[in-house]
């Protein structure tokens, strides 16, 4: 590989992208508009239903005896893992938590929902015998603090990852098919430039442009929305770099031999739309059909989003997201090798 040739193609591609004002503006505006739209849409969200986590037997006598557990408009969610449940209280994803085994309850002091539920609990009665009730609560209070995770906080990593997906798939895949169709690739083939040099330059060009846009949009979103960050910025950057490479490699594979822009567009849409809806950009995958959950694991976007959310919202370390990092690496290596081997100049 000659660096001079790699650099020449890299610079030419960067110029082409940066000077195409409409495409550049769209790459910045698309994620910003979605984030702003959702921030407004959910800024006035009122909580009509309170969520209470229950650890222990939901059919226990305590549940049956205490009137709190018969209160309307409260959703009781059975849970197994106390540690995770407490984290959910910290992030306001649950309003209150009961451990029936130890008779403890947790509320977040900063949660309005938790405050209301605690008042309801303290005014509820327990049926101590067929004819007796008591206001004395059998539960011991445990205090928790922590700011709420808003829907927009949960959404932003997904939006950033989705923008990476569209920019990588269409910016590499579609552009290379156009190059092949209009003869740019044929002209380059007639020079000493190797396929490896050309493909490396395409990957490098798209990678830094995607990262530039992602970082800029993240900073902008953080300034306006004060995004939570419990993990490391460096780790998040690393996850986005790896995710971008995996998305670019999907684009390269689609463009390796295709000569029709219409066909490439169709294939790219066929790949990107299921990824957009099944990778957890808009909603959690926990509730969807198990078969679809397994299908989602094939998509690099799923692993990118889950790793980014884990860092931003749960403070995950690189060790914690090793499965996602390994999966993204394997997808990237496999697709890049297949893409490079099947690449055709004309």
């Amino acid at each position: 590989m000659k660096l001079k040739r790699f650099r020449a193609i890299l610079i030419a591609r960067n110029r082409e992208f940066l000077r195409d004002r409409s495409a550049l503006a769209w790459n910045f505006l698309f994620p910003v508009l979605i984030v702003i739209g959702f921030a407004f849409a959910f800024s006035d969200k009122t909580i009509n239903i309170y969520k209470v986590g229950i650890i222990g037997d939901p059919n226990s006598a305590l549940i049956k005896e205490h009137s709190f557990f018969k209160t309307k408009h409260i959703t009781f969610v059975p849970l197994d893992d106390l540690k995770n449940a407490i984290v959910k209280i910290e992030k306001h994803q649950l309003d209150m938590l009961f451990d029936l085994n130890t008779r403890h309850y947790w509320v977040n002091n900063e949660s309005p929902g938790g405050y209301i539920l605690e008042r309801v609990l303290l005014s509820s009665k327990q049926q101590t015998s067929p004819h007796e009730t008591t206001l004395a609560t059998p539960f011991i209070k445990q205090k928790v603090t922590g700011r709420a995770i808003r829907y927009i906080d949960w959404l932003v990593p997904g939006i950033l990852a989705m923008n990476i997906m569209f920019s990588a798939l269409f910016g590499v895949g579609y552009v290379m098919v156009r190059y092949r169709k209009n003869g740019v690739l044929k002209r380059l083939k007639a020079t000493p430039l190797s396929a490896f040099e050309f493909l490396s330059a395409q990957i490098a060009s798209r990678l830094w442009l995607v990262m530039l846009i992602t970082v800029a949009v993240y900073i902008g979103a953080d300034l306006f929305l004060n995004l939570p960050m419990y993990g490391s910025y460096f780790n998040l950057f690393l996850v986005f770099v790896l995710g971008s490479i995996s998305m670019i490699s999907v684009g390269l594979l689609v463009a390796a031999r295709t000569t029709s822009e219409e066909f490439a567009g169709g294939i790219l849409n066929l790949i990107s739309w299921p990824m957009m809806f099944l990778s957890g950009v808009w909603f959690s995958l926990e509730g969807i059909h198990p078969a679809l959950q397994k299908l989602a694991l094939l998509f690099p976007l799923t692993h990118l989003i889950s790793a980014a959310r884990a860092i931003m919202l749960d403070g995950a370390s690189l060790m914690d997201i090793t499965p996602q990092l390994l999966t993204l690496s394997l997808i990237s290596i496999a697709l890049l090798i297949i893409g490079a081997m099947t690449f055709r100049w004309n």
Partner: protein
């Protein structure tokens, strides 16, 4: 002297269709070789096999006496300049930036300022490549083909679509290249262009070379007559007794004859007005049509 480029029995099939069927020729350094033929004759396929862009189904290409293969392709690419029939350049990039890009793709290059001067690019150096006129674009593509100081240059229909002025301007550029003793391989539909530029031509049809030689030699070999041309409105008599068969088109009658004096005498005897008579030699157009026929090709 070693031939600079040699095609040995080149054959190319595309999905069962024979595009090129046993083409062979060898070129000496410094020659301008014209490959002519109707649409679909196999010119571009032949030239792309020579350029190493298409792998022949059978046969070999030799460059400076060495067989062209994957191992040798970089040496060939470093020493060949190619101007394709139709090619796009990267968008949103200026002429100067495009020249710099291609300069960096080769290990050697000519002096860029001299090349800009030679191909008359200075007036639109900072213009984007998508905003050039046809003639400007062809001059840029020629400059790109010359950027690595090649020893052999392939020009595939370089003046198609250009106005007569731009075409003649381009011919002068090719003559400059010839003056530098570079080998030029040219395909064209314009017989006048081939006659003006080529030292040697080959006419292809149905994937084969049907004749080859210098333009003058081929014309002498295939024609020993001249053409007399008269406007159709000047002729109203009976022409059936003439010793030569006239060919009539919408505007003219044409006669082929070997003895002009006799032909003129006969026409005068028939009281035909010769005021607008034109006498011309056969051209490569006539040769092309004689060898490849008048039928329209797809």
């Amino acid at each position: 002297m070693t031939c600079i480029i040699e095609a040995q029995n080149l054959v190319k099939h595309f999905n069962g269709v024979i595009a090129v069927n046993g083409v062979s020729f060898a070129l000496q350094p410094g020659v301008c070789f014209g490959l002519l033929g109707p649409n679909g004759a196999g010119k571009t396929t032949t030239i792309e096999m020579l350029e190493g862009l298409i792998t022949p189904t059978a046969g070999n290409v030799y460059f400076n006496g060495k067989k062209y293969d994957k191992k040798y392709s970089n040496n060939f690419k470093e020493n060949a300049g190619i101007m394709f029939q139709s090619t796009a350049l990267q968008e949103f990039v200026t002429v100067k930036e495009t020249l710099n890009l291609f300069t960096d793709l080769y290990s050697k290059s000519v002096n860029i300022d001299a090349l800009i001067e030679q191909c008359a690019l200075s007036e639109f150096l900072n213009r984007e490549t998508t905003k050039l006129s046809g003639g400007q674009r062809q001059r840029l593509l020629l400059a790109i083909a010359l950027i690595n100081d090649p020893t052999v240059i392939f020009l595939d229909e370089p003046t198609t679509g250009l106005d007569p002025q731009s075409r003649r301007n381009f011919w002068n550029l090719v003559r400059d290249i010839q003056a530098q003793k570079k080998t030029v391989i040219l395909t064209t539909h314009y017989m006048e262009e081939a006659y003006e530029l080529c030292d040697e031509i080959a006419i292809m049809d149905h994937g084969k070379i049907i004749t080859r030689g210098t333009p003058e030699k081929l014309l002498a070999q295939h024609f020993n007559s001249v053409v007399l041309q008269l406007p159709a409105e000047d002729i109203d008599g009976d022409l059936s007794q003439l010793p030569f068969t006239p060919v009539r088109n919408a505007k003219h009658l044409e006669f082929e004859c070997t003895d002009v004096n006799t032909a003129l005498r006969i026409l005068l005897q028939k009281n035909i007005n010769l005021r607008n008579l034109r006498i011309r030699s056969h051209t490569l157009d006539d040769l092309f049509l004689k060898l490849t026929g008048h039928q329209l090709r797809a």
